[in-house]
């Protein structure tokens, strides 16, 4: 599984990246987490709010930082 965190450099974006990385380790998931910071690349996903979370090319979340419980649910789906 490939997880991408889309966000330029705002506080919420950094928070989402941190929570995602921690949750992936916590859940013993083999998913890779990468951060996409280039706005041109970010816009390719058709989002209007950052930060956003993309799993295997699909936008699953945008404009907010989820709780760990929510994030685990998203990753497991």
């Amino acid at each position: 599984m490939e997880i991408k965190v889309l966000g330029t450099g705002c506080a919420k974006c950094k928070m989402l990246e941190k929570v995602t990385r921690e949750t992936v380790i916590e859940a013993n998931s083999s998913a890779t987490v990468t951060k996409v910071e280039d706005i041109i690349d970010i816009m390719k996903y058709g989002i209007l709010q950052t930060p956003a979370l993309v799993i295997d090319g699909k936008v699953v979340l945008q404009g907010k930082v989820p709780s760990r419980a929510e994030l685990i649910q998203i990753i497991n789906n």
């Binding site: 966000g7 330029t8 705002c10 506080a11 919420k12 974006c13 706005i39 041109i40 970010i42 816009m43 390719k44 996903y45 058709g46 989002i47 209007l48 709010q49 950052t50 930060p51 699909k58 936008v59 404009g63 907010k64 989820p66 709780s67 419980a69 929510e70």
Partner: protein, 346 residues
């Protein structure tokens, strides 16, 4: 985020809790003065009329009042906002003419969830969808300036009249600044790469159940109140400390009603500063306590929230300098007019 509370796990229960909490809210809100008087006079038995006693009474009454109002309004706005996603706003604004578009964009700016960290993707997404530049600006001016937090704090600390004045004039500035920017045909000052960006298809969003929207309301309360309660305590504490005093000092003379340059000076001081509505209102309450006139204080507040250096740095990524200069110039003029107007009327 709603899942942090065990009792929100079952979304269908949201109804029940909300129906139980609302009457509780009302009973508490209507009895705040009685509770404050009971604590001060009967429990602590403080001497009546003493400055410290009255300051304490003000604080004990005012703090829960503002917090209760804040919780209710953020909760309701959280539900309303779940109906107005940026995607929907973009769709609504897509085929509107300039002036109608400006009015709609400013109104939608109030209810659409917005964070300044999303300004760039939002700008690109709007422009790319064919929304006129001026209409996009109306949205970008109204969204941070007019919001539920500003509304509650203004009602709580200065009353309904000031809150309505702030919202009304804020809307007018957003509408007209966007309209003028649109009329000036400044599209050539948008960074060249903006019109070449490939925007991906956004997916159709799923329909939310009403209980999920209520969950969104709780999540909004937790997020926003959790972030700003400290500013509110400070603001009210300062207000309580100054309660009863009307000090005429340096600030009052400099930015008071008598000085014509009070308003422009306040705006100039406000531009490099950056804060959201919650952070700036305590400062505004201090300014007014210190004798700064209302129009000048409102102009300062608008200038801090709507114009800021960090925002200019963000906008610089997508706009060229002439357009940024027009943007700042036009919004500043609008705030200037509002400031002068209220110093004359009030």
């Amino acid at each position: 985020m709603a899942n942090d509370f065990p009792f929100f796990k079952k979304q269908s229960n949201n109804w029940v809790y909300t129906l139980l909490l609302l009457p509780l809210w009302l009973v508490l809100y209507l009895n705040l003065q009685i509770i404050a008087d009971f604590l001060i006079d009967d429990l602590l038995q403080l001497q009546n009329g003493n400055h410290l006693t009255e300051a304490l009474r003000f604080f004990i009454f005012e703090t829960p009042k503002v917090l209760l109002l804040l919780i209710l309004i953020i909760f309701l706005v959280g539900i309303i906002r779940s109906y107005f996603t940026p995607e929907k706003t973009r769709k609504i604004l897509g085929n509107k003419s300039l002036f109608t578009g400006n009015i709609l964009a400013s109104l939608l700016g109030i209810v659409t969830p917005f964070c300044s960290c999303s300004a760039i993707p939002l700008f690109l997404g709007f422009v790319e969808a064919g929304i006129p530049l001026g209409v996009t600006f109306s949205f970008l001016i109204a969204a941070p300036m007019i919001n539920e937090v500003a509304l509650v704090l203004l009602i709580g600390l200065f009353g309904w009249k000031v809150a309505i004045i702030y919202i009304g004039t804020g809307l007018l500035i957003a509408i007209f600044a966007g309209w003028i920017l649109g009329k000036l045909k400044l599209e050539r000052y948008v960074a060249d790469w903006v019109y070449k960006v490939q925007i991906g298809q956004s997916e159709e969003e799923e329909k939310l159940k009403f209980s999920e929207r209520i969950g969104g309301g709780y999540a909004a309360v937790k997020e926003i109140v959790g972030k700003i309660w400290i500013y509110i305590l400070i603001g009210i504490a300062v207000g309580a400390g100054a309660h009863g005093y009307v000090p005429e000092d340096y600030l009052g003379t400099l930015l008071g009603r008598g000085n014509w340059y009070g308003v422009p000076l306040a705006i100039l001081i406000g531009i490099p500063m950056y804060s959201n509505a919650a952070g700036i209102i305590p400062i505004v309450s201090v300014l007014i306590e210190k004798g700064v006139s209302l129009g000048t204080a409102l102009a300062f507040m608008m200038s801090v929230i709507a114009l800021s250096l960090p925002e200019v740095i963000i906008l610089k990524k997508v706009l060229k300098w002439p357009l940024i200069a027009f943007f700042i110039g036009i919004v500043t003029s609008g705030i200037l007019v509002v400031g002068f107007l209220f110093n004359v009327i009030m």
